[in-house]
């Protein structure tokens, strides 16, 4: 890169006072640059660039925050199952194609029922195909034991899913503080979901 070479040239000549890095076969003849008659501050590009970059990053942050704002306010009882639950329900949606987002306006209860059935069917179908596969994931087994928690099954699923390394905005670490994230689903779907999660994650991890 001629830019690199020339700048290194200048540095060596000015600051180090020995022309060490003069690869002087070819480089840009920048020539003398005069600094007279500057209207703006001489570092204006530097300042402008960094300010612009900072503004852009902050703008991006606000846009993302707006995008991830959830809907109407509800009551919440902060429980451990909340967090896991979000992950489990996230998984439940995996089997559906993206067009499911259009179904927003339908009765959510019915839809979630069909969702569960769909997922169960798909997972069962895949489990049948997968039945011959062996090879227990030893690591996840040991992690099952390692994991503390009131309801062991949920913690296992959570740990399995951390191996997915789903982007961290879907935070599956059970040691992170409660109340940080949203979403809670009540008891009955939890049992169903956790089964799905375990099966799908086993399949994925093998």
């Amino acid at each position: 890169m001629s830019a690199l070479r020339l700048i290194s040239n200048r540095t060596s000549q000015q600051a180090l006072s020995n022309s060490d890095y003069t690869w002087d076969y070819e480089y840009y003849e920048y020539g003398p640059v005069s600094f007279e008659g500057l209207k703006a501050h001489k570092y204006s590009i530097v300042i402008g660039f960094w300010v612009g970059l900072a503004v852009f990053v902050i703008f991006m942050f606000f846009v993302l925050t707006l995008l991830t704002k959830t809907g109407a306010p509800h009551q919440d009882n902060a429980e451990p199952s909340e967090k896991r639950f979000r992950m489990n329900s996230f998984v439940a949606d995996f089997g559906r194609p993206l067009e499911s987002e259009r179904d927003f306006s339908h009765q959510m209860a019915e839809e979630s029922q069909s969702l569960f059935h769909f997922c169960i069917n798909e997972v069962d179908h895949m489990n049948k195909a997968k039945d011959s596969q062996k090879g227990p994931n030893l690591e996840s087994n040991t992690q099952y034991q390692e994991v503390p928690g009131s309801s062991g099954m949920f913690e296992e699923d959570l740990h399995c899913l951390t191996k997915f390394n789903i982007p961290n905005f879907v935070n599956t670490e059970q040691n992170s503080s409660l109340g940080e994230e949203d979403l809670l689903i009540s008891e009955p779907p939890i049992i169903l979901e956790s089964k799905l999660v375990k099966q799908s994650s086993h399949r994925i991890l093998d």
Binding site: L4, Q13, V33, Y43, F61, T68, N168, N171
Partner: protein, 293 residues
Amino acid sequence: ENISDFSLNITDCTQVVVPEEVFFTVAAAGILENLLILIAVVRNKNLHLPMYFFICSLAISDMLGSLYKTLENIFIILCKMGYLTRHGDFEKKLDDAMDSMFILSLLGSIFSLLTIAADRYITIFYALRYHNIMTLRRALVILAIIWTFCAGSSIAIALFSYEAATVIPFTILFPLMMFFILCLYVHMFLLARSHARKIASLPTSTVHHRTNMKGAITLTIFLGVFLCCWAPFVLHILLARFCPHNPYCACYMSIFHVNGTLIMCNAIINPMIFAFRSPELRSTFKKMFYCSR
């Protein structure tokens, strides 16, 4: 050497010099950290997954960037001590090779970030079929293609760095990739949001309403760090090509070494925001360090 000519005209915007000790420390830290990640992934069989291979690819490209700076400094020191001549053919080839290593590092970083984003995208949207879509073999093939392409382009760019035809595509590639990665992550966010809404409207659910700040913060950090570390250098290349005689441009180019240090800082920060987030990798590190005691 025309020292006096240069210094008369450029005293207004002198080169901002970063001490060599700082360079070496930052570069060494970057290399060590990324090497640790590579060792951890190789040693732990459970980490032989496509997602960790992509993280390794990012670690390799970060290592190359830091290695470039370290080698450059070593050569400067060798020149100072007189072991290397300054005008030789060998040094010229060496310089070309180092420049292409640096560009390889930049391209490798961009493409690794892209594959990590794509991998996460597939994980979210095609989760039940993820294992079939992203097999280990496919992941390795993808990485091989990417690195071959990056190596070829870096050699081409280093050889033809004066042409506008190489500078312009290079600088366009950068924001294009960033934008594409941003789109992938935004789509993932949108799914998370719609999912949250679905959960919220379940009749039997009680939803903890809160803005999902963590996701926005994470993504802003991912992209913000990459932008802040690489964009100054890309702008430098643009200015050096198109307005080297302009005093404003010259003042911007005088902070070149600071830009180089920023790139090495990126090599240190990237493992923290990608690799160390994985609990599996962290536990592997703990085992490595506690076992060695």
